[in-house]
Symmetry: C2
Subunit: 364 residues, 2 copies
């Protein structure tokens, strides 16, 4: 039996409802910058997927940052490539390297063979969601997530990370029919995967379009956003009478903010190149905004971290508008936290966000 | 004695004057995708700097793409890191690796010791400019170039390329005083370097802010654009009665287009994420625009290359406005051409740009 939420600030901000402070969580908050994370990872055979596929370890690392910092949300510990792995592409992580697929999707036959995976192969993810939700015991909401259809396709075609996206863009421009087929399968799979996370206990969902920003204007809309929209429209948006907010984050998506804000999501994630004041003026009446501190700020001394965090809050401004309605802001980084981040700088960040956002709400 | 220009289409487009076709040149057009370039490089001891520091080889490779394709401009063959090398930082290129500095600038003492270099150490660049100008014999204009103060600073602090810009951003946020001192020295050096290229024969100048786009909104304006503006304002803009156009290109600079268009440049370079129609509506009456095909398009078959090139031209639209005045468009890629590009695809690109841009100019 799930406990009622003790802190629903994050959910309220997503839905553009009044909040006492600006909620904050950090992409990749359960990660290698935390010594306790590294310790659990050693127990899991020093393997990322060893952590992600073990319900107990995944639960443990998801909760670690919450024990250290008063964060306002938890996010499932998992990888964005679980779905293509379940499609049979053979995911592995070499030592010190990024992800690799043993069977990349590069020709007509491989594309034709592609199918939305049996969700039973992703059971370990849904079990982790349920376990984390129970362990949270109502402290804060739990966010489930997936990579976007385009971002998954990048990895599936390239077979891993890429500097130039040569293979996937060669297919996109040379054989757009194959690319659209991959994206259609991915959209179907991601939709089912996210809905199953909601069934398992996720209270909000986030779609990571980590590589949308490498696309050209026009191509982004046709090959990334159209399929993200398809996912968002297929999502279960309510569970047990609670609205399930959906966040869409496109790294490098600033040029297409207005298009992204129309995709049906409740929240749009922004990277640090975006001017938050202008973004709010453009789309803040329609969607909440999440972001957008440069994660590199966290390498500076704590007083500089606090100063830059206040600047982000000031750029968004008082969430309550002059007409009394509220716009939503969820504080986050504009990208995942670096493994080299000093943990005590995160303490300074979270304190500054909570203190300054409370100050911003006081009557002027 | 320099010959009069036979093809000044590029210069006219930079200055928003009437043109019969849209001029086209390609960033890194003299490069590894050309077999004749690789042959010259072998003669130069298979070394990039061996090519760049030898006047004869630098001239040879600069002209190679012009002999293959009817491009409308030549660009000096050199590296953006010649200036910090002349400052004594010890530039080297390892086999198959990017640039490295033996003496990166990371602490107060190194920053204090930094000085604008003796231009005599860059004599090989100016000699190459003069030699290339003579060899061109008036075929097309010659573009000189430099890295921007910020982009140079990135390499100087990181000591080479970087995935996360951790060191340079740590300094930026933690010791902004040191960063501003580096940038001031760089701005002075880049200004003198570019003016000397004009003296040597360069007929247009380009500032590459290749890494401006990694900065946060606000930081970009203070740490990159302010110093680029300082450079632009210090440049000699006329020689022998000819205006010397200045192009500023910030990779990832789309979010700051309006700010960049106000820096004093004649032309703003755009990467492929920018919507060219919107960009023209925003700033086309003030500056010419250069760009913005995704270089990965060149991996697709020639008919797809031609189609995408036409789409870029159509996005900009007819250069002559309804009121009779002209806006300027220079066709280019949104980043340097890849070494894996099939040379015959470039033929298709240049043909498509010339043919379709002539068609666009016909009375409707």
């Amino acid at each position: 039996m799930n406990q009622p939420l003790q802190n629903d600030t994050f959910l309220r901000a997503c839905l553009r409802q009044p909040t006492e402070h600006t909620p904050v969580w950090l992409m990749r908050q359960a990660g290698r910058y935390l010594p306790e994370y590294k310790a659990t990872r050693v127990k899991a055979g020093n393997s990322f997927m060893g952590l992600a596929t073990n319900v107990q370890y995944a639960t443990e690392v998801t909760l670690q940052p919450l024990d250290r910092y008063p964060l306002d949300a938890a996010i499932l510990f998992s990888d964005i490539l679980t779905v293509p792995d379940a499609m049979g592409l053979g995911l592995s992580f070499g030592a010190g390297e990024g992800p690799k697929f043993a069977h990349p999707v590069r020709d007509e036959a491989a594309v034709a063979a592609l199918q939305s995976p049996d969700l039973d192969k992703l059971r370990y993810v849904f079990d982790a969601v349920t376990s984390i939700r129970q362990a949270l015991n109502g402290r804060v909401p739990l966010i489930g997530f997936s990579g976007s259809p385009w971002t998954l396709a990048c990895y599936m075609v390239e077979g891993g990370g890429s500097d130039d996206y040569r293979l996937v863009k060669t297919m996109l421009y040379g054989r757009p029919d194959l690319m659209h087929r991959i994206l259609a399968v991915n959209a179907q799979a991601v939709t089912a995967y996210l809905n199953a996370q909601v069934e398992a206990g996720a209270q909000a969902l986030m779609v990571f379009d980590s590589w949308g920003g490498v696309l050209a204007d026009g191509a982004f809309q046709r090959f990334s956003l159209d399929y993200t929209r398809r996912v968002v429209q297929g999502l279960k948006r309510e569970k047990d009478g609670q609205r399930i907010p959906v966040i869409v984050f496109t790294k490098g998506g600033g040029p297409w903010l207005q298009d992204i804000a129309d995709c049906g999501a409740d929240v749009v994630g922004l990277d640090w190149t975006v001017n938050l004041e202008r973004a709010r003026a453009q789309v803040g009446g329609k969607v909440a905004l999440q972001g957008n501190l440069d994660p590199n700020v966290l390498f500076a001394p704590p007083d500089a971290v606090a100063r830059e965090a206040r600047a982000v809050l000031d750029a968004f401004g008082r969430p309550q508008r002059a007409d009394g309605a509220w716009d939503g802001h969820i504080f986050n980084l504009g990208h995942g936290i670096s493994q080299y981040t000093p943990p005590e700088h995160v303490t300074a960040l979270v304190e500054a966000v909570h203190a300054h956002s409370r100050a911003l709400r006081r009557p002027m």
